[in-house]
């Protein structure tokens, strides 16, 4: 009976207690990571929508100002945004690190989402706005009831990509000492002297998180897909 013995030999080598322990610690960190990512994405969506709308409908001056603002934010490495915001702002008002992290990642993501929404708004055919105005809708009503619902649908695939990036970028808040999943992983790696194992488990945890987010967004995409004549392509 070779196999049970081999199995026994292997399983006895696996440090189950470390793995179990790591999972507990990572789970604690994951709560913080989700907090940061969801907070940043929410802030980013609000900011991105406002900036994207301003870019398309705001007239040439507003559009130009937003374009420059967005370009600067997109050019900054997110970790630098975190440093600038944290050290600059905390010198004026007392900002908790978690909030500073969410704020800076949200700002950074907002700049990218502004471009996503701008593209999506421009992707809605002109005729939609024209026919809304021809019915007597004001520009604001047309944007709210006709343009935005269609632009959101167009934005979902790129937005799903941005969500994955923000989840990953949320690991950068560890520089502020926030106990997110990355920070917890580092602690565990140092404590156990099993960096390969610990970081592999962490990678798996990030993978699962992003998989979940993408699955959720695909479901949303499917749910809001506008029906057409059924074509099997």
């Amino acid at each position: 009976m070779l196999f049970p013995e081999l199995l026994e030999a292997i399983t006895s080598k696996v440090p189950w207690n470390i793995i179990l322990n790591t999972f507990q610690v990572l789970l604690k960190g994951m709560v913080v990571t989700v907090e940061v990512a969801v907070g940043a994405l929410f802030l980013g969506i609000v900011l991105g929508l406002v900036l994207g709308l301003g870019r398309v409908y705001g007239g040439s001056l507003v559009s130009k100002v937003i374009a420059i603002f967005v370009l600067i934010l997109r050019a900054l490495p997110p970790v630098l945004t975190i440093f600038i915001l944290f050290y600059a702002v905390t010198s004026i008002i007392n900002l908790p690190p978690l909030l500073a992290g969410i704020l800076s990642l949200g700002l950074s993501s907002g700049a990218f989402q502004a471009e996503i929404f701008r593209g999506a708004i421009l992707g809605v055919p002109d005729g939609q706005m024209i026919s809304a105005r021809a019915l007597g809708m004001t520009k604001g009503e047309a944007i709210r009831t006709i343009i935005i619902p269609q632009a959101f649908r167009l934005a979902i695939p790129s937005w799903s990509n941005e969500a994955a990036l923000v989840i990953k970028n949320s690991s950068l808040v560890y520089v502020l000492g926030i106990p997110d999943m990355m920070r917890q992983a580092q602690y565990a790696a140092a404590r156990t002297a099993e960096p390969f194992l610990i970081f592999s488990l962490t990678a798996l945890a990030y993978y699962l998180l992003i998989l979940l987010a993408n699955k959720g967004l695909s479901a949303l995409d499917q749910k809001f897909r506008i029906p057409t004549l059924e074509l099997e392509l």
């Binding site: 939609q128 019915l135 006709i146 649908r153 506008i226 029906p227």
Partner: protein, 262 residues
């Protein structure tokens, strides 16, 4: 008959960059008149139509709707546009809304109808264009002809005093043109004031009271269909009508098979 025109325009000019598309166009349209605007492409027919409901703001000139000057400052154009239905070449139905919601959205957002009142009125107008059974389908699930009929119903639901049609059948397959023209003919019969940019000479001959021939940004010639078709005064009008007839003439009669239905 009331002698005040439903819609009137005077000396409309419009430039796009260096190109002067409209070079001073004036005409009056009276109650229940059906006007068809024809002419070679690029002569400003669609621009003229859009200047009437100010989707395009004319550089110069005035437009009146039921005696009120709508090009005057301080006129709320959104209120004015409710009285002018518009139908487009490529339908422009709201692609994220079902047929009935395409009609509801204007009634609810612009006319402030309650949901159930809007639904009732929307169903009535869908019935008018023969599409009640398609009410829950999205534009992407409808044929071009059906989409255009929903678009007509959407415009009619706002109870307009005039309907503007911008080449309503140009994007349709020949076999779908008939169903849209039937709806438009019924509309004309019901006394709706209509202005239509089109190459449907069969429709123009049969239904319209007056044809306006546009050329190079001005009205080249206008008059009753009989006059224009049988005895055009302008050599260019004759030439254009001849060319169009050559292109569409024979099939035109078949498309107007709707005659039997009426």
């Amino acid at each position: 008959m009331n002698n005040q025109p439903v819609i009137a325009c005077q000396d409309i000019h419009k430039k796009f960059g260096q190109t002067e598309v409209l070079k001073g166009v004036s005409f009056d349209v009276f109650n229940s008149e059906v006007i068809v605007i024809i002419g070679p492409s690029g002569t400003g027919k669609s621009t003229l139509l859009r200047c009437l409901n100010l989707l395009t703001i004319p550089d110069q000139g005035k437009v009146w709707l039921e005696g009120e000057e709508i090009t005057a400052p301080k006129v709320d154009i959104n209120v004015v546009r409710q009285k002018m239905g518009m139908v487009f070449q490529d339908f422009n139905l709201f692609s994220h809304l079902t047929a009935i919601d395409n009609i509801n959205v204007g009634l609810e957002k612009v006319c402030h109808f309650k949901k159930n009142e809007a639904n009732e009125k929307a169903l009535m107008h869908l019935n008018q264009v023969g599409l009640v059974d398609k009410k829950d389908l999205y534009p992407g699930q409808l044929s071009g002809g059906q989409q255009q009929r929903v678009a007509i119903a959407r415009a009619l639901a706002m109870d307009p005093v005039v309907m503007l049609f911008d080449e309503p059948t140009s994007a349709l397959d020949p076999e779908l043109i008939g169903e849209v023209l039937i709806v438009m003919k019924n509309l004309a019969k019901s006394g709706m004031t209509m202005i239509m940019v089109s190459h449907e000479l069969g429709f123009a001959r049969e239904v319209s009271n007056r044809i306006i021939f546009m050329e190079n940004g001005v009205i080249g010639e206008q008059g009753s269909p009989e006059k224009l078709f049988t005895n055009p005064q302008n050599a260019r009008t004759a030439q254009f009508l001849h060319k169009i007839n050559e292109l569409y003439g024979s099939t035109e009669e078949e498309q107007i098979a709707g005659k039997d239905v009426l």
